[in-house]
Symmetry: C2
């Protein structure tokens, strides 16, 4: 039976594919695994049926033969098992790929998210500009370190892994931000990820669902 | 050869064990694996030798037979491989445990961290009180959902796993916050974790190192 993925019924980002079903869709496409989607309204996220699958009322939730998982990072690792494109079989290379999945969600995502969200939540507040400067400095520190590690390489560990998939999904949130002009290697890295056929299929699938609704 | 763990040379939290070497130390103790530590000053974190191991200049870094890992979540999962206490051998139970590791670092930690850090960084700022209320509300949402999932259970998935280890390390940051009085099941959950002999050994080890320096 094909796994089920719970996704938003309408896009908070206008179809840019920034919601957290995107890394899971991409991983499923890299692994060549067909899946079905369960579309949820924002109201349905808070209903007992969904909370039984996803205790925090978020998307995605993932169902496969009675197993229910949540957290995009965990689902990506689950899908990646048995897919050497995403998770190398060599023990050390595998551990390094997993390291980058965590670096994406726990070290790079917080400053990316704070920077991006402040544009909405702080707009017009008296502290908007002062706080924006603090958040931009924190973000630039992480982007500089990431660019330094990447150097001239195509991917974080030589070959593409789940770590790149997750990192690129995190960075896409700010790919159009003016400050990205100062990190051309990261901008090119994002574009390399987006050029992968599996990414394009995943992106088109989330977009088609939203276009159908509109 | 015993693995090496890079840790702070002095504690930013006065020995409360909130730095990110703590989940790794705890996991190593649960797995019964001896380890050695490499003590780093704050200045040394930014030096090339450490950045070669940890591109973001953070602790912990982990070295084992030439393999270098970073990100506490990734190192905990690496240590957990082959330790059924931390990562069940059953495929579904294992995936659920990993789900909770990610829930700890990517869903629960951000509001815990924001709430805790605002007490330092926003102190005396014009936005301090307004922002504190927003952050507390966000944190209460997550704590309420986590308490709802935990219910009367001892651990998140029946038996203790790496997911509990990571979640308890995240929650310890606010265990003394007044709002925890409203979540007695979570307070008891933290205490159950802290009562484990492996936690106590890990806590004592980080504390002894700091006491020796002082």
């Amino acid at each position: 039976m094909e796994p089920f993925l719970s996704v938003f019924d309408s896009s908070p980002d206008g179809g840019r594919g920034l919601a957290r079903d995107m890394p899971v869709r991409w991983a499923l496409e890299e692994a060549g695994r067909p899946y079905q989607v369960r579309r949820l309204s924002f109201a349905a996220l808070k209903e007992p049926e969904h909370l039984a699958r996803q205790p925090f009322g978020q998307i995605p939730a993932y169902e496969e033969d009675g197993l229910v998982l949540f957290e995009s990072g965990a689902i990506v690792l689950h899908v990646a098992e048995g897919c050497p494109t995403l998770l190398p079989t060599d023990r050390a290379a595998r551990a390094r790929a997993i390291t980058w999945v965590f670096a994406a969600v726990n070290t790079v995502e917080p400053p990316v998210w704070d920077y991006d969200m402040a544009g909405f939540f702080d707009r017009g507040r008296p502290w908007q500009h002062e706080r924006a400067a603090v958040l931009e400095a924190a973000l630039r520190t992480r982007l500089g370190q990431l660019a330094q590690h990447l150097g001239d390489a195509e991917w974080l560990e030589g070959t593409f892994t789940a770590g790149d998939l997750m990192m690129i999904c995190v960075l896409r949130r700010i790919e159009d931000a003016p400050l990205m002009a100062d990190y051309p290697a990261l901008a090119a890295y994002i574009r390399r990820g987006e050029a992968r056929p599996a990414f394009q299929r995943a992106f088109a699938a989330q977009r088609a669902l939203l276009d159908a609704k509109a």
